[in-house]
Amino acid sequence: MNMLVCVKQVPDTTEIKIDPVKNTLIREGVPSIVNPFDGYALEAAARIKDKDPSAKIVVLSMGPEQAKAALKECLAIAADKAYLVSDRAFGGSDTLATSYIISETIKKVEELEGKFDVIFCGKQAIDGDTAQVGPEIAEHLNYPQVTYGLEAEVDGDVIKVKKEVEEGVEVIAAKMPAVVTFTKPAWDPRYPTIKRKMAANRAEIPTLTAADLPTIDLTHAGLKGSPTKVKKTFVPQKKTGGVKIKEETAEDSAKKLFQLLSDASII
């Protein structure tokens, strides 16, 4: 079983604050983390490996050199090998261009690590929240996809995925090779171990560049290769608070609230 997990290094958006004067994002001092959904994807791969210790987990990230920290984190948790793909020509890529570059990189990594049976991704990254790159990788590679996965199990040449749907959980079988994107399961991903962490600190992580990807068409990469363009960004207007209710007792407050809501025909 040969598994690839695609990960992204993201700013911890729970730590992002707004500059109250300039009304812009304060990015300084915001820690970089492994996108949590990618962590769930890694955990899903690790659980497959728990059952089949001969399985291999390779992690791949696209981003600047600093993103190797995220890859090391994955090595400390469960991954066996890590690759970074990075090139100036890739800057400004939107999701379509990004997924194209990653799918081209996968072809190259497969030459080194063997063909992947499954490609796992987080359902979305918490900075962009687009949920597009996983399905687009599947399309570029012409693989079936399952999104919103909670857990995955290998059964012969099929990957069985528990998928979160509105009504509950669906069990979906997809013929491998396949792409699965993961959402938050009921359990927490495992923690790194000291032993793996020390090994990760010493691991060499190869950086692949555009020059290493013989079939890549650079007109489909980077800003120029991206169909979508950001016209502007802005900090959302804060809604001003409405009616504050603080009566003498909680009971009075509750009654006043009810009165206001019925008067406004809301309930």
Binding site: L96, E136, T228, G241
Partner: protein
Amino acid sequence: MEAKTKDLWVFVETNEDGTAKNVGIELLTPGKMMAGKQGGALVAVVIGSNVDAAVKAASEHGADKVIVVDGPEYAHYTTDAYTIALCTLVEKYGPTSMLIGATNNGRDLGPRVSCRLHTGLTADCTALDVDEESGNVAWTRPAFGGNLMATILCPDHRPQIGTVRPGVFKKSDAGEAKAEIIKEDIHVDAADIRTQVLELIKEADGENVDLEGAEIIVSGGRGVGGPEGFEPVKALADALGATVGASRAAVDAGWIAHAHQVGQTGKTVGPKLYIACGISGAIQHVAGMSGSDCIVAINKDPEAPIFDIADYGVVGNLFEVLPVLTEEVKKARA
């Protein structure tokens, strides 16, 4: 590809009983406005099995045309069948833009379709307009957990595609069904559908947590203090006929299932009334519920940021406020 028309499409997702999901009908509202600005027709695209009800709904809510693909292979959503059908239609008709509801299936389908058509997709939009300079669709969406909004254009590729969050737009009132109905027969071979649904496991408590379709949501957060703290929240929800929601803090603490989670890593909701109990109002939560028509916050901390976005804010202990409110609702409805 080049657009062949100035038409704007709305993909109307269907339920297994052939009715339309709310979001598809909701999207006809901004669709009408944008199609008007772009000078094209508003076209609803309905794919499913025995979907007459959905076709009728689309027609009643403002579509000029409805393109229907009806077949047994579409009874249950699969990425492969729906992608083939939708791409076939787009290639045949060449719309200039397309809106898809950002449901689980919509977010599964959108990127697959846009990638196959080699065009741009903007995900999870919360505002739509037509850019006056260029005539392109101006897709506005939150990023960085709702801390930042971005307006995105797709100038050189057609169709311009976006997924739009449920609950952002309101259904128009139903009018006369007068859309032109176009039936398309697209057959997908079983061999081309590479995934198979083996089983559906319903929610353990038999409860269908349909937050996205809920009219009223009563949510609990860290302030409820424990699983038993959800009792007064559930009691109020029962009295109001509401769905129970939760903040990430409550879900992470294991007090309630993830299916109830509202916010960036949970569901995006847009009910008529959202009652936040013991929820501080972290931006990740607000990102998932700020589209609610009316927000009520009950929190004992007067400084809680949730009060900044609440229409009605009660400063008080939820365990004292909720039972009284529940009684008042029961009395009024008795």
